[in-house]
């Protein structure tokens, strides 16, 4: 009992010391307390590391066809077996992860740029500018995501090469996801712009764009980072869904999403579980760990959740 009390006091003391250091140190201190979130961080870090180090980890080429060894079950030489063209499945999982994570990050990047621009400008100026920008955002927001994404990629997808289709999917996901972020940023800016330091900034002769992007947006970084983290998980899911339906990234470029497609063939579903369990498992691990991390971050950033 007693030792616990002392520990608590120590922890508090430590916490207080860290509070003097700065916002991010405080966030990190709170984040560390959340075991699940730390687990998520570690899991996603391992995944990212594996994916980046793919050429070192596996001796096979991503698209190297070996028809003599097609549809092999997992073995010592092919850890996760081979697919119908004899390509090493473990290799494709790793490279597929590259694409999936890239899509997640890139599309969040697109929504960040749009969200910051829309949210920052409409929150700062208010009035009719706010009205127009937010109505545009709301129109996009009100469309059901999947049908619109499917339609868009079906219309646009026919005209582009496989490689470019990947980037197209990133942009579609990013654009469709930005309104949520824009609204959140706008809400933050609305309260921040009335603060005295903004009046002081005006009195120092700063221009509007400088006030928005140098002074207001950094004040919302904590929220943006949480939103973006959770957004990466969502984008990976969206990409998987689109690719699963054959409207996202298409073979031969592997992604976890289009690899799960094997499960639609009943023969594969029954007899070759190594072809659909691993990519599904990877999506599950990636999305779950990012979400756990995001939740932890949110609690760490929110001052009210400070226990």
């Amino acid at each position: 009992m007693k030792s616990e009390a002392i520990k608590k006091a120590d922890a508090q003391k430590k916490n207080e010391e860290q509070e003097v250091v700065g916002l991010w140190e405080m966030v990190w201190a709170n984040f560390k307390k959340n075991k699940l979130a730390v687990f998520g961080l570690i899991a996603i870090s391992i995944l990212i590391l594996l994916v980046i180090l793919a050429p070192i980890i596996t001796p096979y080429e991503r698209d190297a066809v070996d028809l003599l060894n097609a549809e092999q079950p997992p073995s010592m030489s092919h850890w996760l077996g081979t697919d119908e063209l004899g390509r090493d499945y473990f290799t494709r999982i790793l490279y597929g992860g590259r694409i999936s994570l890239k899509v997640g990050l890139f599309s969040v990047g697109v929504s960040l740029v749009l969200g910051i621009l829309f949210g920052g400008v409409s929150g700062f100026y208010g009035g009719w500018i706010d009205n127009i920008l937010m109505r545009i955002a709301e129109i996009i927001y009100s469309f059901p995501f999947l049908p619109l994404a499917i339609t868009l990629s079906a219309i646009l997808g026919t005209k582009v090469s496989t490689e470019n289709k990947m980037y197209m999917v990133m942009v579609i996901i990013g654009v469709l996801r930005f309104p949520g972020l824009a609204r959140m940023i706008r809400g933050q800016i609305l309260t921040l712009r009335e603060q005295e330091f903004m009046q002081a900034a005006t009195a120092l002769g700063l221009s509007d764009s400088r006030k928005i992007f140098r002074h207001l947006i950094p004040n919302t970084f904590a929220y943006i980072i949480v939103n973006a983290t959770l957004g990466v998980a969502g984008a990976i899911m969206s990409e998987s869904a689109l690719s699963f339906l054959g409207l996202g990234v298409v073979p031969p470029i592997p992604t976890w999403g289009n690899m799960v497609t094997y499960a639609t063939r009943s023969y594969v579903l029954k007899n070759m579980p190594w072809l659909w369990i691993p990519p599904g498992f990877c999506i599950f691990i990636a999305v779950m760990s990012i979400n756990l991390m995001g939740d932890g971050l949110r609690d760490a950033v929110d001052p009210k959740s400070n226990r």
Partner: protein, 325 residues
């Protein structure tokens, strides 16, 4: 160029609200010489803050400066574009605010905030700006300035933050500093330190100060010249010694009386009877008439004008200017 740094002539800043026009500043005149301190005194709502905002052109909708001229170094600020004003704000005229606790951006190091102004207005490189920021922090009397530049605002006390604000305001060596109740939010000892600091800096850098306050003690300590405002108008305008020796407007007299004194044993503090009139229901005659102990019939129907009663001492009151006798 005239001998005055700032020459404010008949400025009217009105707020066009749904309920009517609020004449927050209604024909104010004053002048500030280079290196001089002008004190602007008045109750809450007397228009002193709006006057300073008008000079900075920071009055926000629905407010607008509709008349007059604000000549700064001979040029009318009211004719300047937004971009031109941006090069003047923080550079030639800067401002410090009442609330040091919230006037600094919480997510930037204080050094960064001082450097930003320098890089913006003086085209300094980061390196130069950082050195200048440290120098400014030293000038405003912050110990361990090299460490404090890398501190965030929340790590500093209120007095320290106000010093940082002053350092930021003076970084570009402006010729006019507008201080809007700079010490109201600080405790008395810090208040004295900050005022002393401002006085020292004024001498060192030759900056003119426009000091807005409701504290006559602060005015006595700081100002060379004082204007007293009531309901958006200047009611008395005098050099500081003259004002304290010979207060002429009944409102100024009332303000003087309401300063607690150590010498007498009164149990209650003197105060001016009544309230500031509602800005939309101002009296027809002199705005101070309903509260004025000396009021005569003429005060109810006629508005007094500023008249000189001694050298440099102007007052707007029928009784004080003896027009009626």
């Amino acid at each position: 160029m005239s001998e005055f740094l700032l020459d404010v002539k008949n400025v009217k800043t009105h707020f066009f609200t749904d309920k009517g026009v609020v004449k927050a500043v209604d024909g104010v005149d004053f002048k500030i010489k280079k290196g001089e301190t002008l004190g602007i005194v008045g109750e809450s709502g007397s228009g002193k803050s709006v006057t300073s905002m008008s000079v900075m052109q920071l009055v926000e909708e629905p407010g607008k400066t509709i008349e007059g001229a604000i000549k700064f170094k001979g040029e009318d600020l009211l004719q300047k574009t937004t971009e031109e004003m941006q090069t003047i704000r923080g550079n030639e005229i800067s401002m410090i605010f009442q609330e040091p606790m919230t006037s600094l951006n919480p997510v930037f190091k204080v050094g960064e905030q001082i450097m930003e102004v320098l890089m913006l207005h003086q085209d300094m490189s980061r390196e130069e700006a950082k050195n200048k920021a440290i120098e400014m922090l030293k000038i405003v009397g912050i110990p361990r300035a090299e460490r404090v530049v890398d501190d965030y605002p929340h790590q500093l006390s209120g007095g320290m933050r106000q010093r940082v604000m002053i350092a930021m305001a003076l970084a570009c060596e402006p010729s006019l500093l507008i201080a809007d109740e700079p010490t109201t939010a600080l405790d008395v000892t810090i208040q004295a330190q900050i005022l002393q600091l401002m006085n020292e800096l004024k001498k060192k850098l030759g900056t003119a100060i426009m000091l807005i306050t409701h504290d006559l003690g602060v005015v006595a300590q700081m100002a060379d010249h004082v204007i007293v405002m009531y309901c958006g108008k200047v009611v008395e305008d005098a050099p500081v010694e003259e004002l304290f020796e010979n207060p002429s407007h009944p409102y100024t007299k009332g303000l003087m009386k309401s300063i607690p004194s150590l010498d007498d044993d009164k149990r209650r503090l003197d105060s001016i009877e009544g309230m500031v009139p509602h800005p939309l229901r101002l009296p027809k005659g002199c705005y101070f008439e309903p509260r004025c102990p000396y009021a005569i019939e003429k005060c109810k129907t006629h508005k007094p004008e500023l008249k000189e009663i001694a050298s440099g001492h102007k007052v707007s009151c029928f009784v004080a200017t003896e027009e009626v006798r």
